[in-house]
Symmetry: C2
Subunit: 229 residues, 2 copies
């Protein structure tokens, strides 16, 4: 089990109430036990429990190391009408090691209100579960225009150009930073696609099936995870 605490330079700190309960009540760790903790910013630490209070577990780091980030994907996706589907996507994308998830406002985006705090919690829980040391950055409410100028190696927009179809997989390279834009159920508008193309995004097809927005996002996560695995 991996615990989470957003520690920085300090070597002693108190876990959150939720983490304390999980550690002391659910998993029955006791004073003197050693646990693994990450700060979600690339640090993996071993810490000894110095106070096994059920609501305020105190620990002291005995060893820390920095883990190299091997994260290559930024998924920028229009949130779905149903919030559950976004939450699933955040959980799965996190398990699959994405670097960043942007929930974007497009012309046809179906939902504008996003509980970022809830998504951050899901992401933290998913890194603990999948034993990773980086929490993906989750950004909400960006306009598509804000993303067009991002610095990255490969820029893609999921949109089928029937005259000139390019398969997503043909554009993937390992060890390259990839940004992919994924539209809402109603798709990007022609203007949005044209704007992305002006900014050197390549239109790519995600295959023959009509995928739901969140499935398209997951497919991108799986493909980039696989190619870098």
């Amino acid at each position: 089990m991996l615990f989470f605490h957003p520690f920085d330079q300090e070597n002693t700190f108190t876990l959150s109430e939720e983490e304390s309960r999980h550690c002391i009540k659910a998993l029955r760790y006791q004073k003197g036990d050693v646990i693994a903790i990450t700060n979600g910013m690339g640090e993996s630490a071993e810490a000894i429990i110095t106070n096994d209070n059920i609501k305020a577990c105190e620990v002291k780091i005995t060893e820390r190391k920095k883990v190299e980030p091997k994260r290559f994907l930024h998924v920028a996706i229009a949130p779905t009408k149903n919030a559950d589907r976004i939450e699933w996507l955040v959980e799965k994308a996190t398990e699959l090691g994405v670097e960043k998830i942007s929930l974007i406002q497009t012309e046809r985006t179906e939902r504008n209100f996003i509980k970022k705090e809830r998504l951050d919690k899901i992401a933290i829980s998913a890194i603990k579960q999948s034993h990773q040391f980086y929490v993906p950055e989750i950004v909400v409410g960006k306009k598509i225009e804000d993303l067009l100028v991002e610095e990255t190696d490969i820029k893609l927009i999921a949109f089928v150009d029937r005259n000139n179809p390019v398969q997503f997989k043909e554009k993937l390279l390992s060890n390259q930073k990839i940004l992919i834009l994924i539209g809402p159920e109603g798709d990007f508008t022609a203007e949005e696609v044209a704007l992305a193309e002006q900014h050197h995004f390549t239109k790519v097809s995600l295959g023959n099936n009509i995928l739901r927005t969140e499935t398209a996002g997951l497919l991108a996560c799986c493909a980039v995870y696989t190619i870098n695995g």
Copy 2:
């Protein structure tokens, strides 16, 4: 929109109450309109509405064609404790065009009771949504032993052999039938893995992250979809 009805040779039939409501009430189709229907067994048909009864919509097929099956994956997976996660996997696997999903009993499987009828409904809904003409076969309650003798081109078991790690992606070939076994959260037992190996299954790693069972299943679906896209 694609509708579903399990038709065979007959050219006239009545849609189910649910499909009728969807067609006539929600989407406001009327007598004389032409709709697209699949039987989930590879047939894509056009049909004219001959009676727009809200609970019993009658249609007559005017054109039918058989669609070539391009489905290569059989995912055999231990069901998760939380039924939502299996249901989600069935939806996503169907969107991604899998041929068959077996929910298997293994030594450490956490759930034995599966509502197959509900999973079939989810799969039908997903083929409509993703515009496909085959419903995956969903099999429940099989033992791992039953799957070991399946005829297929490539046989894999998701299990990390630290001495001899083989990446999943290295074993994938396009246009080949693939069967992959995915274990429960507690993993397969050493005996189960040995048994699979005796039946020519190859142990493969799904990468460095510890993935939840359903995420592992999804990753397999995405990889096989991508390689055959």
